[in-house]
């Protein structure tokens, strides 16, 4: 059983997405990337990201990750801010530490693609 299934699948993503989105919107290090006119669209993207990070069904490839982030000139600081928001969200939802660890390792696995290294 994947982490995604163990923490409740799509319902877990639904529970997490608003909390996560609020965290990234108020974090000065990264808020500019998330503060768009089309919040609905941004919300969808974050659901897709969380689904991927939770190990759920997704169509992301390393190439997609690279292309989507290439123009943003992202650094370790940005990546860490998103990771903190992710962990903070999971803590708020009382997700057990072992699952948080698996989710963080999935997020870290795409780090080089996101930072274009």
């Amino acid at each position: 059983m994947s982490v995604y299934e163990q923490i409740g699948g799509a319902a877990a993503v639904d529970a997490a997405v608003d909390i996560f989105y609020r965290k990234v919107l108020v974090d000065d290090r990264i808020s500019e990337f998330f503060d768009t006119v089309d919040m609905e669209d941004q919300h969808k993207k974050q659901k897709a990201f969380l689904t991927m990070a939770f190990g759920g069904p997704n169509q992301y490839t390393g190439k997609d990750m690279r292309e989507a982030h290439a123009h943003m000139n992202l650094t370790d600081e940005h990546f860490n801010a998103v990771a903190e928001a992710l962990v903070g969200t999971l803590n708020e939802l009382s997700v057990p530490q072992e699952h948080i660890d698996s989710i963080v390792s999935i997020a870290v696995s795409v780090k080089d693609d996101v930072l274009n290294k």
């Binding site: 608003d18 989105y21 609020r22 919107l25 108020v26 006119v37 919040m39 609905e40 919300h43």
Partner: protein, 327 residues
């Protein structure tokens, strides 16, 4: 390069090539195809076209359309930059209605109240596109109620260089005809939980749709608190206060608050305040609340974000963003 195949009612076909980044509307106009259009900003819906090739319609070209229209392949040609070729059905796709001016009054320094004969069905909170005989087309929210008023009312913010503003200020008279298209928009009251707290935030003529939505909610028996916050750039652009006061006397669960953004030369009746701070004080926790936000795009964007950060869920925030026409 994507091509357009234009199919007219009589079976004639014409091929039009689009330049990179060109909209369908601009491509058709360049090729001499007659298409009606207005704002070129995706607001007025006058350039609505239909295609059988629904998969080729970009997302942006259907934003703001009703789901039934999306399902039938309608799209906004001014917002459509297709990546694939498209067939376009040129036919009278829009229902048009004729209305006459019942009254036209200046209600604030730069705001006019236009009342028209009731010629179509609508929901409070929706908007219409008005077409003047000179060809100028603009969209305005509806402030009236379809059952309780026997006219359609729109509030028009006059801009010094605005084309429709000029018509309103110096040409339009009682009895004149206007063509109406619509109604459009989904910023309407849905009676799901009548005890829910509603927050309504409006800037300028954002008051118009909110007045309609509030009356609709109250008349449908909404029992939850309704907080309405109305902002104006200056106190001489506050208007409609007696109507709002009357409404809140009739329905004690409606609370109205005003916020003036900057001083002007008229005696300020109300203190200057930041509308976002006022909103936060009025309703610090918005978890479980429903919000209706109407006004210019930057106002709606900022207030939407703040409502979301204070706990409102995105799907509970409805909005109507006013865009200024570019044509």
């Amino acid at each position: 390069m994507p091509n357009l195949i234009v199919m007219s009612g009589d079976g004639e076909r014409k091929k039009v090539s689009l330049s990179p980044g060109e909209t369908v509307l601009d491509g058709l106009l360049d090729a001499g195809v007659e298409v009606s259009y207005g704002c070129k900003s995706g607001v007025c819906h006058s350039c609505l076209l239909q295609t059988p090739d629904q998969d080729a319609i970009p997302y942006e070209a259907q934003q703001g359309l009703r789901s039934v229209e999306r399902g039938q392949g309608y799209f906004l040609s001014c917002k459509c930059k297709p990546e694939k070729s498209l067939r376009i059905q040129l036919e009278g796709v829009q229902q048009r209605y004729q209305s006459k001016v019942v009254s036209l009054d200046k209600v604030a320094d730069s705001i006019w109240r236009l009342r028209l004969t009731k010629s179509l069905a609508y929901r409070p909170g929706q908007y219409l596109t008005l077409k003047h005989s000179s060809g100028v087309i603009r969209s305005y929210s509806i402030a009236s109620h379809p059952i309780h008023d026997d006219f359609i009312e729109c509030h028009i913010r006059a801009f010094p260089d605005g084309k429709f503003s000029h018509i309103v200020k110096s040409e339009l008279k009682v009895g004149d005809s206007l063509e109406l298209l619509g109604p459009y928009g989904r910023c309407v009251y849905e009676k799901t939980e009548s005890s829910r707290v509603l927050f309504m935030g409006g800037m300028g003529t954002g008051l118009a749709p909110l007045y309609g939505i509030a009356r609709d909610a109250l008349m449908q028996g909404h029992t939850g608190q309704i907080f309405m916050l109305i902002g104006a750039s200056q106190s001489n652009n506050l208007y409609h206060q007696s109507e709002l006061a009357k409404l809140s006397r009739a329905y004690p669960n409606l609370k109205i608050e005003y916020s003036i953004q900057k001083l002007d030369n008229t005696a300020a009746i109300l203190p200057i305040s930041d509308i976002y701070e006022t909103a936060a004080k009025l309703l610090p926790n918005m978890t479980g609340c429903e919000a209706y936000l109407c006004g210019n795009q930057s106002f709606v964007k900022r207030l939407r974000k703040e409502c979301f950060l204070r706990g409102a869920s995105l799907s509970d925030i409805k909005s109507d963003e006013f865009l200024r026409a570019v044509a």
